[in-house]
Assembly symmetry: C2
Homo-oligomer: 353 residues x 2
């Protein structure tokens, strides 16, 4: 069904090699011969087989991107940034959703090796991803971690300053008078959870407040986890006056639980979180959050991995730490004047559908 160089060669009355020369720029081919080959290419609707080329050149032209969940706006925007940079450099993106599952992650990593992706951008499941990543390291596979680091595993990394961001959020809550603050957070084997909890605790410590164990709820960083955790929080007596959620999805789940109890934010309880809920701020600026330059995660990670591919495979790990900004809105009952909402609020421009 698909024509090959040999089919084209036969039709044009030349050798396969000459066809190859023509489709690769035509240098060193007589004009008339080239014309003949080009006509044959058109007539047979020939498209060179990229798989065969990849086998010859050991270059697949593919980058892998593994994220827990592409439907989380944080990751979809990030992937979008990575894809744009990759495309401009002539690379395709293989997208994988690990679903936070170590086994699935391992499978995808194997797949990257097997299909000879030239590099990988990955938001790892957690510290236990180490084994999965070491398989790549052994092969000097160009690799960039995003969002989360992995304990005891050193490689290129793009992350935000979670400690500082969490501290800001907590200090803000303290600043507007909250004292009983609960935290919805992932288990400690995820670096962002560790960092954000550390930042939170540091802030509480400066205020001289001890956080009781019952106020630290460990759960999955998704809507279901936030929902369940908030249900527990709402049963505490005395009830916390504010909740710090580890990310946007947990905050949404928490919000859902709050609404179902018939409570109102911030009148009955305050709620803040990491990561902006994209698009939402436009419609109804509400949640006070720490916002990360999401798209930049993707573009920087792609640049780093492309740089590794381009040659510097052996160099020392590079660590890019992006600044996270506090966006004060309404959800913590702040008595401060509301922050101005610049029309281009987040760091990325509106995009076409």
């Amino acid at each position: 069904m698909n024509a090959t160089v040999r089919d084209v060669a036969r039709k044009a009355g030349v050798s396969a090699m000459t066809v190859s020369r023509v489709i690769n720029g035509g240098a060193g081919v007589r004009l008339e011969t080239r014309r003949r080959v080009e006509r044959a290419v058109t007539e047979l609707d020939f498209v060179p087989n990229g798989v065969a080329r990849g086998l010859m050149s050991s270059k697949s032209g593919t980058l892998g991107v593994i994220v827990p969940d592409i439907s989380n706006p944080f990751f979809s925007i990030l992937v979008r940034g990575a894809e744009t940079v990759a495309r401009r450099a002539g690379y395709r993106v293989l997208l994988c959703n690990s679903e936070g599952d170590l086994g699935l992650e391992k499978q995808y990593v194997q797949d990257m090796i097997s299909h000879r992706a030239e590099g990988l951008i990955i938001a790892p499941v957690g510290d236990r991803s180490k084994a999965n990543l070491q398989a790549l390291e052994r092969r000097r596979f160009p690799l960039v971690l995003i969002d989360r680091s992995v304990a005891g595993f050193d490689c290129d990394l793009v992350q935000a300053d979670s400690v500082a961001g969490a501290k800001m959020l907590a200090l803000h809550l303290l600043g507007v008078g909250h004292r009983r603050i609960a935290v919805i957070i992932e288990p400690d084997n995820v670096s962002t959870a560790r960092d954000r909890l550390a930042g939170f605790n540091a802030a509480m410590k400066t205020a001289g407040i001890k956080v009781p164990a019952s106020h630290v709820l460990r759960t999955t960083a998704d809507r279901a986890g936030g929902y369940a955790a908030m249900q527990q929080i709402l049963s505490l007596d005395p009830r916390p006056s504010a909740v710090f959620a580890v990310n946007n999805m947990t905050a949404l789940g928490a919000m859902q639980a709050i609404r179902e109890r018939g409570l109102v934010v911030p009148k009955d309880i305050a709620l803040v979180c990491f990561d902006d809920v994209e698009h939402l701020a436009v419609l109804s600026p509400f949640l006070t959050v720490v916002n990360q330059p999401t798209e930049m995660f993707g573009t920087l990670a792609a640049q780093l991995v492309l740089d590794r591919i381009a040659g510097d495979t052996g160099g020392p790990p590079r660590r890019v730490v992006l600044q996270a900004d506090l966006l004060v809105r309404e959800s913590c009952g702040s008595k401060l004047p509301p922050a101005p909402e610049p029309s281009g609020k987040t760091n990325h421009k509106p995009r076409g559908q």
Copy 2:
């Protein structure tokens, strides 16, 4: 750097063929031989080269997915559904953002052919994508359109009933008393725009209302387009009392323009749109919308394309039309009682980050 079957064969003292047998299940290999090979595989950290396999078998194990913009939640959720189904069938997903650009779309399509993706799921740029798609049709490339059809091009398709959905939205606006209703919509070469405008016009006609040309604003279906269109609408005299936006992104842009003028929805102007703004409804159910079963677009499309790959390449085109549901909320000033908000409001469950 990467070991090959021949390296493993040498180490195990067998032929390459035997290694191949072992890594493919080991049928017809003596137990002891298999052990030896397996040991060599482990020691050399051998991973079979998927590119070479692909060349032999003409099976890349890859599906292409082309959408205008993965950061639009409609598409990210759709892609997520497609990826899940693809993975379960042993396929990888190559993700492409066409950015609504015909040239880029063409490039991606070429790439799919070149890299021998086994099938393609595509939300085409518009009717002018026809030429791009015909290149695939000529090759009997398994192909499924999502969201949008292409005039004069017949192939497998998953779409929602835009006509009926738009009619519902318009009838709802009419039902609560609006008469001067403006439409923000894409150019007519996008099928969803045609269908939604047709549904809207049909509803207006039943009410005996003529829609003046000034009330139909053609623009790009993104936030910037919605923003610009709404600015124009707000300058009309008399000002329309309601606005119908072609999708979620235009609605967000429109909302932004409204807020910047210091106006309030629905008091000063009503706003409804197609596509729910994911996650948003949880936080603050507000926009009255027609919601599409987003994830199902992806899963169904993947199933259709896998089905084509599995053999039925020649069969007649299949057209799946999904029902779109009206979700009445607050943004049109309805005097009806608000619709109940079931906790699992949209069709998909919360997902892990």
